[in-house]
Symmetry: none
Subunit: 228 residues, 4 copies
DNA sequence: TATGAATGAGTGTTCATTCAT
DNA sequence: TATGAATGAACACTCATTCAT
């Protein structure tokens, strides 16, 4: 699913988008808008949502200020579109990859890998997602929050599968949020020149997280020497 | 160490260096400025650094706009002071608590507990620290970055102690940054009404992290059945 | 005379003078444009000429922004067309009704009634006429001003007839403009639910005005007690 | 009461107007703001409220755009201040002049004269008052509407006095609103070079209106020939 | 010590209008 | 005949900051 696609989709209710009968997507049209969103993503990443001005976007995209408003209702809509696209894409990919796997550990590793792979390839989007978490208001904010909750629930579900399979007892919430912290934090430190790639990172973080969960949550055996 | 103290200290070079060495510190004065920083912290937390205006701060503190500039060079200095104070305080506390402990695992648990305890009590500061990571420019930015590196190195050191003690082999960098992710992320989700307190959280995260590190990094024993 | 007609008429010189004399008028076409003017009238009334945007008009009429410009040169032309139509219509009706009456008082009552009746039925147009009095520039402004002067002169003529018939001496100008004030002001206060209809209003205002003029202007008789 | 005075008064709740202990009005300060209001009045008159830009006001007053906002919350507040001042002043003057007169006719003539005199001397204010009748929103709009109703009621009261004194029967509402129309309309036509001054105009309009009311409302005598 | 006054530069957004199709 | 795309100029308003007092 391309940025253009999601953009077009959300563009529907805006203005009087006629959208001709035959519905052949005008790719030249869509590409233009997708471009804008890509640039916007970068600018929001560099300067933050508040710090970025529509004039910055105008400059970056080569589109006039008023032209921007021809396509997008407001600065907030740009943020919304970016966040929605990002979340939708990552969830969609995750679902596809999860289809083939049944082993609970494997499935969690898929989750981690999917997350890291996407965000290492789209670091800007990642920061925009996490930094501008509470920026969107009302309807748009609620919509993104709902998608985010979906993502959370998927991960929680995976963890519960694992728990059932191995007879573990632990707080799913804490585990999920700890995992989210680990994998989300990368945008603050990952340097492609010195740090491992998504595959390697996913394996290492998977090891760390899964061993942590499994051993920490294993019902104490009688002869376990000491607390840890 | 009070906010007032750090503030005063950094205020020294500013403008009319009236504050000669021998002078008894005017605590009424200091308290006022500490108040300003506390309010500023809250406002930056609520609106972000860019989103917060000096007028917002003026309103929140009850000090006139010009009054703010009488004490603080610029909006950026306020951010700098807050970040410096936060980091300095947390590191200082950590060092004190570390003094009494020698067991490597115990020391890492102290690190985690210290971090969570401070940030659960100062959630605003936390967000201001992590969100406005790259906001400070030049000298001030470099100074904060240096303190941050200190903090990172302390944590890395603790991990290396553990590795040596237990004969583990793992990437310290990845482990530290994963841990940072886990503990820093709390400001995005911690709800005092439903989530555990710092002690409990520190114990659980400590379990998760330490089991993860130790078991994931343990040199494979010959008879280890399976990958995990 | 329909709005469409006047519109068409003034449209003649615009752009591609396609509309050759012999052509049968396309009424479907005309009705569309008349509709636009009716809507425009309402929007100008609600928001004022300056406050109304072409986008408002586009929305209200369902015609695209560019479509509006296809038929009308500019926003100013829309105002011009509305004002011209309104004035032309009211004068035309007045002339018809005046044809049958000869009594000077009767003729003034016809003037008042015609004015009130039209404007009570077209309150929007009325406000657009009086509020946007000086908005039109150059040629268009002059043309409307000329029509307005016509209307003024007709009324002045009626008053002079009355003066001659009854041997009155008074300032026609002041009387006309006082009358205009009385009857034009209604758009600011008339509430169809509590105020009388055009017939009743015309009678009452006619009484007030005519008694006022006649008694105030009657050459003093020797035994008139006092000024009033 | 000077423009400065009313301005100062309404300025009180704005921002943190400290307003020193002794309360000696700083006339230099007030004069500046009164100046701004006078200029604003003129600009609103020339271009209408919507058509006038804050930049126009900035240019006209010689004060920077941001400076304007230092003193006035918004463009709307400027309009409010002008309207409030105008209405308050004219009502205050009216009340003073009414104090000495007891004859009902005389009192109505005072009303007319007061109105015309003020508005011939302040034609801008007049247009701003009548044209921007519905511009103010919410609280400010309600406040001005209340003052306006006061003014209406005073006039209605005067007419009822006259009715009682002379045993007339007529719609007070219609009479008041007709009178308002007559006297308010002058701003559309009065040309000081060719038209009479306030005194003369007030006398003539007074004659017209009073004769109109009295003769139109006089209970029909048996031998009155015909309707008029 | 502390503030009201003042501002140049910038904000997000809307304007009337043009033009290729 | 009719419209989507596009824009330069303007809009009301806010910004961080300075300065005289």
């Amino acid at each position: 699913m391309s940025l253009a696609a999601i953009e077009t989709q959300s563009q529907e209710p805006v203005k009087n988008g006629r959208k001709s009968a035959s519905e052949v997507p005008d790719t030249r049209f869509d590409r233009r808008l997708a471009d804008v969103l890509t640039h916007a993503s970068r600018i929001f990443w560099e300067k933050g949502y508040e710090g970025a001005s529509m004039r910055d976007l105008s400059r970056a995209t080569g589109m006039s200020l008023a032209g921007l408003y021809h396509y997008f209702e407001s600065k907030e809509e740009l943020l919304y579109l970016i966040q929605k696209h990002t979340f939708t894409t990552i969830i969609e990919r995750l679902r596809q990859r999860l289809e083939d796997a049944t082993d609970p550990e494997e499935r969690i590793r898929i989750f981690i890998h999917n997350h890291l792979e996407y965000f290492l390839a789209n670091k800007e989007a990642m920061k925009v997602l996490t930094h501008e978490d509470e920026t969107l208001k009302n309807g748009r904010g609620a919509e993104i929050a709902a998608i985010k909750r979906d993502y959370y629930r998927i991960c929680l579900g995976l963890l519960e599968e694992l728990g059932r399979a191995q007879g573990l007892q632990f707080s799913g919430r804490l585990a999920v949020l700890s995992l989210f912290g680990m994998v989300n934090w990368i945008y603050t430190w990952h340097n492609p020149r010195i740090d491992a790639d998504a595959n390697s990172l996913a394996r290492q973080m998977g090891d760390l997280f899964l061993h942590g969960v499994i051993h920490a949550a294993k019902p104490k055996r009688k002869n376990s020497k000491r607390k840890l």
